[in-house]
């Protein structure tokens, strides 16, 4: 204790002025797309851990990127889910169907037949592969960009279109913005317009399933931008405290409307890393690699079902389309970014894989695209036969229903006031 330091920092030399750091993306309109900050490990290097591994053992997965499909389009490594060719072809079909559906619905929105649409282009592997890795009766709490879940569960496109059109067959009775589906029989929860709210709800559902000794688990999705909302924190906290059987997915598609993922904290950590702070495993996966997404989701599902608790999965992908039909991305990002996205296109990659293993061909692919296009057209025709936005479902008086289970007097009076 010979040398005495100054006793208070007040005595130290005054430092320079403080500066505010405001995140800045690598490229803006006019710039060359720049993904040099994206580290892409080779496929197959990551090992599939046991499902009862503890969080500290799993910490490296939150910074890594699980990849199965190599540059040669072969599946490599421990995570290869070894799906049979039929399943892969079905996956390709469902991803393609999702994309074609999206393209078609964008077009009808542009024609004024509906008010709004949101595409999932470039992110089809997320929904389709994840749906495949879950059981049919596991409960899904999606955001607005997982239409692929419904497609993968074989839900009727006509039914989806009718919701988008708010027509006479709209199961949501004209109440919701297009694409805010709710499909109870497919265990697909009602989509909320408020970001993130489904995340703690999924945890609550999973807690209930555990309370009741059920075997069904829950899965939920948010975008990387949405991780900043309170609900993300609530979900992780409750999932951790009660070790709920739930899979919490962050779809990191690089953008939240105009804001790059740095505004959600992506400059300083991966989104999968958030989980470790709660003592939960976080796994980062190549979201455009159908096989990797399937494998990681299956791992998390097995873990949850065996009472080893929740997993956070970050699906690393790219939002290839505009945020929604109300958005124009050319105002905030280089036009050709998707073409330069280092993880490619999930559909193209699965297609090439199937070709590489001798289970697919360009010709069959072309035929499939045509068939699906025909199917979507036919479905659209049917859906339009039930009307479009200008042909509302049932009577306006139905707007007073379902506010409560039984209509209270004040709503009866208001309905009467409206003339019914």
């Amino acid at each position: 204790m010979a040398r005495k330091k100054p006793t208070s920092s007040a005595d130290r030399p005054a430092p320079g002025p403080l500066r505010l750091h405001v995140p800045e993306p690598a490229a803006r309109p006019g710039d060359d797309p720049d993904f040099s900050h994206v580290r892409v490990p080779a496929a197959g290097v990551s090992q599939r851990p046991p499902i009862d591994a503890s969080e500290p053992e799993l910490r490296a997965y939150a910074e890594g990127l699980v990849r199965v499909l190599g540059d040669d389009h072969r599946a490599v490594g421990d995570w290869d889910p070894q799906l049979d060719a039929d399943t892969l072809r079905r996956g390709l079909r469902h991803m393609l169907l999702t994309r074609i559906f999206d393209d078609r619905m964008l077009r009808v929105q542009r024609q004024g037949k509906t008010s709004f649409y949101i595409k999932s282009t470039g992110e089809e592997a997320v929904s389709v592969a994840q749906a495949y890795a879950l059981r049919e009766d596991d409960m899904l709490f999606p955001s607005y960009r997982q239409q692929g879940l419904l497609v993968a569960r074989g839900h009727s496109l006509v039914d989806m279109m009718c919701q988008i059109y708010n027509n006479t067959r709209d199961r949501l009775k004209g109440r919701q913005l297009p694409i805010m589906y709710s499909v109870r029989e497919k265990h697909f929860f009602s989509i909320s317009g408020n970001l993130g709210t489904q995340f703690p709800q999924a945890v609550g559902w999973a807690m209930a399933s555990a309370m009741k000794g059920d075997t069904r688990i829950a899965a939920s999705w948010v975008g990387e931008g949405t991780t900043a909302e309170a609900d993300f924190h609530y979900a992780l906290t409750f999932a951790s405290v009660y070790q709920a059987p739930v899979i919490l997915n962050v779809v990191n598609n690089q953008y939240a409307i105009s804001s790059f993922q740095g505004f959600a904290g992506g400059e300083h950590a991966t989104f999968a890393q958030r989980a470790s702070g709660y003592g939960l495993p976080g796994i980062r996966v190549d979201g455009n690699d159908f096989l990797a997404v399937h494998a990681v989701t299956q791992w998390a599902a097995e873990r949850a079902r065996a009472n080893h608790g929740p997993t956070l999965i970050e699906l690393f992908t790219y939002r290839a389309a505009a945020h929604s039909t109300s958005d124009d991305p050319s105002a905030y990002r280089p036009e050709d970014e998707f073409a330069r996205w280092p993880l490619g296109d999930p559909i193209e990659r699965l297609k090439q894989h199937l070709i590489a293993i001798g289970e697919w061909s360009e010709a069959r692919h072309e035929q499939l695209v045509k068939d699906l296009d025909d199917q979507v057209r036919a479905d659209l025709k049917e859906a339009e036969s039930y009307g479009t936005l200008s042909t509302p479902p049932a009577s306006p008086s139905s707007m007073f229903e379902d506010v409560f289970k039984d209509m209270p007097e004040h709503l009866v009076r208001q309905r009467r006031e409206m003339g019914y």
Binding site: R175, V183, S190, P200, Q201, G204, S209, A218, F238
Partner: protein, 337 residues
Amino acid sequence: MPKMNMIQAINSALDVMLDRDDTVVIFGEDVGYFGGVFRCTAGLQKKYGKTRVFDTPIAEGGILGAAIGMGVYGLRPVPEIQFADYIYPAFDQLVSEAARLRYRSGGEFSAPITVRAPCGGGIFGGQTHSQSPEGIFTHVSGLKTVMPSNPYDAKGLLIAAIEDDDPVMFFEPKRIYNGPFDGHHDRPLQPWSKFPQSEVPDGYYRIDLGKAAVARPGNEVTVLAYGTMVHVSVAAVEEAEIDGEVIDLRSLLPIDLDAIVESVKKTGRCVIVHEATRTGGFGAELSALVQEHCFHHLEAPIERVTGWDTPYPHAFEWHYFPGPERVTRALKKVMEG
């Protein structure tokens, strides 16, 4: 018949429902092992186990988010918010989710939750343990809002709320947990056991939501009140020696408009009493409804006696609280008006 104070009556309602319906679950901050800071859940974890009655993280939004998910699964969650003042972090889950779920899903999903929260002042709790936020929730389509004024009603209404298939905000005026406080803070509180409303059956019974009660019949003026203010209003009517009819609304939404209109048409005068701040409070809605439905019967302007439009000031609690003196003044004013 057992005698119960309001805490015991609420505990009994929860006990009855946990026993009858194994989808009922109870949780919140300190409600499990400890039994709640007001003891409303005392003994229930021990009786029903840790997966039916349990503690939670301090995250009101998480509590409600999880409750909604459980409701969607098929449970009937009865979360507690420790003080109504701390309900705001859960506001989005309540307003955007619980309240809207049935509607937006075309009836596919719903959240049959009952949110219990102690409310109101008069306990020297300062501005964050005294609030009465019911008026914020009555503006939200899809929520029901209930506030009992005595043990018998508390149990019957709470059972009805838990059985209700829609989300219910169940506000418990903490000032009357132990006795029917009438606003005379300088007099000793009479315990519930001295009053007939403390005779509460042990078993199941329900009081339907949306039905008001006449707390004191009368002919000269109608007083609309709920919660603690029912007792303050009855005291004021007696002290003013005016033959006032005090209506205990019990449920704010749905509201028993018939009972209100019938009474005001009879008396021709109306005073509205609540503890919440005035502007935009539920009293405004009551005033609007009364004048819409009884305009030609009104002989004087409707008076509102409410908390002032300030936070609840700790040292001036009794100046803030709308006590019998202020109600009496309003009664006299409408009788003259």
